[in-house]
Amino acid sequence: MLQLIADGFVIGSVIALGAIGVTLVYSILRFANFAHGELLTWGAYLAWTALLGFAAVWGPMEPLGPFSFGWTLLASLGVAAIATAALALLVDLLLFRQLRRHGSAITLIMASFGAALVLRNLLQFIFGAVPEYYSREIQVAIRLVPRDVLGGLRITPDQLFVLGLTAVSVVGLHLFLTRTTLGKAMRATSINPQLAQVTGIDVDRVVRATWIIGAVLAAVAGVFSGLTVQLRPQLGLDLLLPLFAAAILGGIGSVYGAVAGGLIVGLAESLSVPIVGAEYRAATAFIVLIAILLIRPTGLFGERP
């Protein structure tokens, strides 16, 4: 039981970080971006590429302490975050920006489906379809709770790293949104874009900030997924439903809702494994999503009707 909860939080961290991007893009640009999952995949693979690059220069990665990875993975995560942000800005420049001028919300949604397809196929073309790993080091799991208490709890150092960095990211984002001028400008733009403009807010700048934040968190989430599971070209596609379930569960547009939603969906997936089996756990997100839409369509933190 405890073990399933801990596993759920690890999965939930990945979903939460991805769902923040979905919800931010929705609240500022007013469309559901179905290509967001691909940013996770690209983030994961870009980090893998950087890791190979570092290994070519400095030799194989030396694990840091109890972790399966070394400092080059952290550096690769940084590189991937920057490169994924650049990719998101490029897609916006080439595609969404053009459609924002004239297109409707449905045009943007369809375009995001197209973008997802292109990004996924391009990635598969470049990196191939065989699963990859950042590291093949075996880790010693730490026993936090003995086996006779609620089934016990063991957690790997990598999983602790995922939970810790997720917490840091969420707190950092919170401080950014509440303390900085750009963060406040983002919140204001999401509430009322026209009033934001006449208050002097450069909405284009807010849009760029939105993509950058969404993409950086997507890259982090992608690396987490690669670290705790494996790297696959379908990584983002498989996470798409959980991401949207989390964003909608939290109340689309709400960053804190996305975090809460991500953790809940992660927990639901994990807890459902003993009931429905691991193969069907992906369906859990779908059931959660349907349940929310039926019971409380505005989500936990949703305000707008």
Binding site: K184, A188, I191
Partner: protein, 240 residues
């Protein structure tokens, strides 16, 4: 000195379908200009075009002799033009303080000094700084909207129907505030359907009909001219 000059402006929402068709007006420094006209005449479109929110297809806008035609909306508050939209003119899920604070951060004005001044001008707002703007009554919300637009110390303040939805008593209070604002050296462009209240505080007025300015004169002249009233300000005759 002319604070704001609009020359033969053409503007609209769709290309080739101008709503504003040849509107011209000028406001002298420290004047209150009322822009009147029947519903659907294009008053809001005109003022939004000046504010950079509606595309301009012809004509010019000059702010203190500097051309600002087609400038991005978010640049104008930095250049001394304040705008109060008719509806949704405050950030409803921010407090009064945060509404003003946000504008001060964006426009990079000395926060404390500016907000103290504005709170002195709007004591009703000062008493409830922490209150969410969405909870304010109509009159107070309008005051906050005006205060927000004043944060950047604009030379020209434009308002779109600040009397809309307010009781006659509140209209009086808000308009008195506008007179106080003008006394601080601000030039005001006041778009209004409430002709009587607007002419009572305006120095001059322009009447917009079908997108173009038809009559321009002093407020006194316009208020006296029964033909103007009958022709263009349909509902003006009955006292409201």
């Amino acid at each position: 000195m002319t604070a704001l000059r609009v020359e033969a402006l053409e503007a609209g929402y769709e290309p080739g379908l101008p709503i504003v068709r040849g509107a011209s007006l000028s406001v002298e420094s420290n004047e209150i200009l009322a822009v009147l006209g029947p519903n659907g005449a294009g008053k809001s479109t005109l003022i939004k075009a000046i504010a950079g929110l509606v595309p301009v297809s012809a004509g010019r806008v000059l702010l203190h002799d500097r051309e600002i035609t087609g400038r991005a909306a978010h640049r104008l508050p930095h250049e001394g033009l304040g705008f109060v939209p008719q509806t949704e003119n405050v950030f409803v899920n921010l407090s009064i303080d945060d509404n003003l604070d946000l504008a001060a951060s964006i426009l990079k004005v000395p926060k404390k000094r500016r907000l103290d001044k504005l709170y002195a001008l709007f004591p009703d707002l000062a008493r409830q700084r922490r209150l969410l703007a969405g909870r304010l009554s109509g009159g107070q919300r309008q005051m906050l909207a005006v205060a927000r637009a004043l944060v950047g110390e604009p030379k020209v303040l434009m308002l779109d129907e600040p009397s809309a939805g307010l009781s006659p008593k509140l209209v009086g209070i808000v308009f008195e505030k506008l007179v106080e604002v003008r006394a601080t050296g601000v030039t005001i462009v006041l778009v209004e359907q409430n002709v009587k209240a607007a002419l009572a505080i305006a120095d001059r007025a322009a009447v917009l009909v079908e997108g173009s300015t038809r009559i321009v004169g002093t407020a006194r002249e316009l208020a006296k001219d029964p033909q103007v009233a009958a022709l263009y300000l349909g509902h003006y005759r009955g006292d409201t």
